[in-house]
């Protein structure tokens, strides 16, 4: 028989091999490129993050604008920075100098020379740079300089042998360079808030501080505890809900699939197809579902506190009150007032109720904003009194000129934004959003006289800020924050009389458990840990279902037949045979799903994860922060120092992620065994 291929030219093997090699080359190039990019990224994050995490020591360093000298002291405990600071002084003259008189400096003496040559000693001063008569000729204005010595302490455990001092002319930065190559900044131009990086030796305390302090607007103080714990809370909720639900769904779909054609068969097919499709749905969509289903619960239970709008309640007597309507009884409305705490309001006294628009009714005033020695922002204005704001309480600040914050006198508007914030706006210093709860407490029981500052809106329209002193027989004493003057008002002058504790009985919201107990649950859930966790559950449920189905499918049918032939019910077969053998696969899938959940930012943002939250969740109804959100916010901050903080956050997130994945690998290794 003759071959059909006879006389045919074969494709040269070399040509076919070449194609093969070309593919391998392309693959190699792509792989090395991605490995390179990945390592650059990782190294950057590690380097930046480690600096903040392990190397940061927060200290106030002196201003070196007028640096004269910088040297280590003999004992090696500190650095002495000497600066020549410019000063001004007015030397009062006993009598007005004659017209045309000049000033002469002779050594340490400052002399006034009259046109007729007579000299009068105004005073003594060394290092005078300029001296002149004031326009009214009553004094001599001299400018001089003064040497100031700053001592900057150094960590005593460090060896200073061979240490040197380095000065950077451009930034004015003075640093100690240790023999191990690490540096510590001891002085900087402007001086205010510099961080001292001690790179080279890990500072575990700094890392611990980072993990145990709340986020802040100052990068030096920024910690990660709220996002870390918030993430852990929602992940626990997510795992506890997604695992049983997902595994159960997969068992139902896989082991109890309808055998015969019919309606159930079709339902099965539809569900099965959709589970697969859902795994590819963008997570923000789940965020929206979570918002509707969990946070708001279709409005079935009324609005959650967080979503009750701020309203302006105009009373028939002309007074106005701002707040949220939290409950209604037949003839009485309960309001949570911004300014007055909880108030009861007769329905008959209620006039028009209008939506409280964000930033309505701003209080315009002139005052100062400064950063004090304890890094607290202090806003002072006669209308507001003094508001002290922890810098970590500030959610957002746009400073017009960036740079270190210097005290300034500004026109400011103080208003109430939505979402539980105050907005302090200053034309030149920018805008700050302040979490309301951090500025003051809600009046819980006014009769017990809380010793806290509050803002009181008076019936005549004035707004006062101060401490409530006492309340008796309609007399209300408020100690104003500035000047310590005590103002006593008749209770009728206050917009409305605060009235006891909130009465939640008639809330439209469904409350389970006391509000302070850890079993407290309310429906709708609002922006709570529970809602966040359940939303993440939605995100990972399809992944878990699919992973579990795959794992169940990997269990050979012979084992199922074996169990059934021994008289097992389908459930006994699943529980005693299929499921135990699928556990490694399920666990791996579940843990990978959890690592997906931990990095999700979009759905968390939608359901109301908060940024710059400073309290830790303590029950399922607490608000929460989450790691990815916080990192995202930090990367968006204008201060470059925040990039390092963000990198530290990424490091923590990556560590948690790696732990998850490592445990997945471990479980797989430990539990996986041959099935046949």
């Amino acid at each position: 028989m003759t071959s059909l291929l006879e006389g045919r030219q074969a494709i040269p093997a070399s040509r076919r091999n070449r194609t093969n090699r070309r593919f391998l080359w392309v693959a190699l190039c792509v792989t090395s490129l991605s490995v390179l990019a990945l390592s650059v990224l990782l190294v950057t994050v590690l380097f930046q993050g480690a600096k903040h995490l392990f190397g940061a020591e927060v200290a106030v360093v002196p201003d070196t604008t007028h640096l004269v000298s910088a040297e280590l002291d003999e004992r090696g405990q500190s650095v002495q920075l000497v600066t020549r600071e410019p000063r001004t002084q007015h030397l009062e003259l006993l009598e007005r100098a004659p017209e045309g008189a000049t000033v002469r400096v002779d050594g340490a003496d400052v002399l006034v020379v009259a046109p007729d040559g007579a000299e009068l000693r105004a005073g003594t001063r060394t290092d005078v740079t300029s001296a002149a008569l004031t326009p009214n000729r009553h004094a001599v204005r001299i400018e001089y300089s003064e040497l100031v010595t700053h001592e900057v302490g150094l960590p005593s455990e460090r060896s200073l042998d061979g240490a040197s001092i380095e000065t950077d002319a451009q930034t004015g930065r003075v640093a100690v360079r240790y023999t191990n190559g690490s540096t510590q900044i001891v002085g900087q131009r402007g001086g205010t808030l510099a961080r001292t990086h001690v790179v080279g030796s890990p500072n575990l305390k700094a890392a611990k501080d980072f993990l145990t302090t709340p986020p802040s607007m100052t990068p030096t103080n920024a910690g990660f505890n709220a996002p870390l714990l918030g993430s852990i809370w929602i992940l626990v909720v997510c795992a506890l809900s997604a695992l049983p639900l997902g595994i159960g769904a997969a068992i139902m779909l896989e082991e109890f699939r309808p055998r015969r054609r019919g309606p159930t068969h079709w339902v099965h097919r539809i569900v099965q197809t959709n589970v697969r499709n859902l795994a590819g749905v963008p997570s923000i969509v789940y965020g929206l579902i979570g918002l509707t289903v969990f946070c708001r619960m279709f409005g079935l239970f009324g609005s959650a506190l967080q979503y009750a709008p701020y309203q302006r309640f105009e009373l028939t007597d002309g007074r106005t009150i701002l707040g949220q309507l939290v409950a209604t009884e037949e003839e009485v409305y309960h309001l949570d007032s911004e300014l007055l705490g909880h108030v009861k309001l007769e329905r008959s006294s209620l006039g028009e109720v209008t939506q409280w628009p964000i930033k309505d009714e701003p209080i315009e005033c002139h005052g100062t904003v400064e950063l004090n020695d304890e890094y607290l922002f202090v806003v002072r204005a006669p209308e507001l009194g003094e508001i002290t704001i922890d810098s970590w309480a500030i959610e957002h600040a746009e400073l017009a000129d960036g740079g270190p914050f210097s005290p300034r006198e500004v026109d400011l508007t103080f208003s109430m934004g939505g979402q539980g914030r105050y907005v302090i706006e200053t034309p030149d210093a920018g805008r700050m959003y302040v979490a309301r709860d951090l500025v003051r407490d809600t009046v819980r029981d006014i009769d017990t006289v809380p010793i806290r500052e509050h803002i009181y809106r008076m019936g005549d329209g004035r707004v006062l800020r101060g401490e409530l002193m006492k309340l008796n027989d309609g007399e209300l004493s408020i100690r104003r924050a500035i000047g310590e003057d005590v103002t006593t008002f008749n209770i009728k002058d206050v917009a409305l009389r605060p009235d006891g504790k909130p009465d939640y009985r008639n809330r439209t919201m469904l409350m389970l458990g006391d509000e302070d107990s850890s079993f407290h649950v309310h429906f709708p859930m609002g922006a709570s840990v529970l809602a966040g966790g359940l939303t993440l559950m939605l995100v990972i449920l399809p992944i878990i279902i699919i992973a579990t189905q795959e794992a169940l499918r990997a269990v050979p049918d012979s084992l199922r037949s074996g169990a059934l032939a021994l008289g097992a019910t389908p459930w006994q077969m699943v529980w005693g045979m299929t499921l135990p053998n699928a556990v490694p696969g399920i666990m791996t899938g579940a843990i990978l799903a959890m690592s997906r959940a931990i990095g999700e930012a979009a759905p968390i943002l939608v359901v109301g994860g908060t940024i710059f939250i400073t309290f830790l969740p303590d029950n399922l109804m607490s608000g929460f922060a989450a790691m990815p959100l916080q990192i995202y916010m930090w990367t968006n901050q204008p201060d470059p120092e925040f990039k390092k903080v963000a990198a530290s956050g990424i490091l923590v997130l990556l560590t948690v992620l790696l732990l998850f994945n490592a445990s997945a690998v471990f479980i797989r290794q430990k539990l996986q065994r041959p099935l046949t």
């Binding site: 037949s561 059934l564 032939a565 021994l566 008289g567 006994q572 005693g576």
Partner: protein, 300 residues
């Protein structure tokens, strides 16, 4: 006889299988294969008194539109070994899987007719298959030990059906393994994975697992086809020992095996029962020429 059409088969009466006492037939046996069968029967047949365990009347089975079994009529004797032989695809497994309703798992499978085991109607929709399968155990072609310890493999069945104390369970596991002639080989490694056993041991473990529930009927679908000759031998010996206590139905492709282990043999062809008789008769003087062709290897 071949049932040429359904009408004829419906009138067909079951072949009465009359088990003879172990008289010596060897003088009449010319076929060496039959000699083997004879020896087997001589050695294993006990008293001739038998009762029917399984009564099959007008039994047909389908997979969708395909009819896999046509109007079977047969009785399977209690405490005897019945071998089902026939070429591949003739419906032996189908028949077996209907006896303990494993075919319930096949969506397209359905059947008609009567199938009674120990007086209960197996095909009754209301029958609890869980209880049926405890009474009718099954051993599969490929050994399928569970990926658990040897102990847990044997204890799996009892744990499904009973609440037993540890001591009772220990005794049951030991007895089952002894009955399956496996005890001496595994008694020191009961807590080791069953997957570490050899193929033959695994198959005997599967038998031990099944007899731990004291079933009345033991179905075996080609239990030795995945085993080497030595392991096959041991399983065959085991079957010989079990036949006093269980009604065993065994599917086999191996004529020698059928001859060696069974008391009664049924020949299936294309979904029909061609002949059922005492094994010796089937192998020496079958009534149907097709049977003769098959057992002598000139066919199939």
């Amino acid at each position: 006889m071949i049932q040429s059409d359904a009408a004829a088969s419906r009138q067909h009466q079951p072949v009465p299988v009359e088990l003879k006492s172990p008289v010596n037939h060897s003088s009449r046996v010319a076929n060496p294969l039959a000699a083997v069968a004879q020896r087997a029967i001589d050695a294993r047949l006990s008293s001739g008194e038998t009762t029917t365990e399984l009564k099959v009347r007008d039994f047909s089975a389908w997979y969708g539109d395909f009819q896999a079994l046509h109007n079977l009529e047969l009785d399977i004797p209690k405490n005897r070994v019945t071998a089902l032989i026939g070429p591949s695809g003739c419906g032996k497994s189908t028949f077996l899987r209907w006896i303990n309703r494993m075919n319930d798992l096949v969506a397209s499978a359905r059947c008609s007719g009567t199938l009674e085991a120990g007086g209960t109607n197996v095909l009754d929709r209301a029958l609890d298959v869980v209880e049926l399968r405890r009474r009718v155990g099954m051993v599969f072609q490929k050994p399928n030990p569970f990926p658990k310890s040897i102990y847990d493999n044997v204890a799996f069945g009892p744990r499904l059906h009973y609440r037993l104390k540890k001591r009772e369970l220990d005794a049951l596991v030991e007895k089952s393994l002894r009955d399956a002639a496996l005890w001496d080989e595994v008694k020191d490694r009961l807590d080791k994975s069953a997957l570490g056993l050899s193929g033959g041991q695994q198959q005997r473990l599967c038998i031990a697992r099944t007899i731990a529930l004291s079933p009345e009927v033991l179905l075996m679908d080609e239990p030795c086809s995945a085993l080497d000759p030595k392991a096959t031998r041991r399983v065959e010996d085991l079957i010989a020992e079990l036949r006093n206590n269980f009604t065993i139905i065994i599917v086999t492709h191996n004529m020698q095996q059928a001859a060696r282990v069974s008391d009664v043999t049924a020949f299936f062809f294309e979904g029909r029962l061609i002949e059922i008789d005492e094994t010796l008769t089937i192998f020496t003087s079958p009534k149907n020429p097709q049977t003769e062709e098959y057992v002598t290897g000139r066919f199939g």
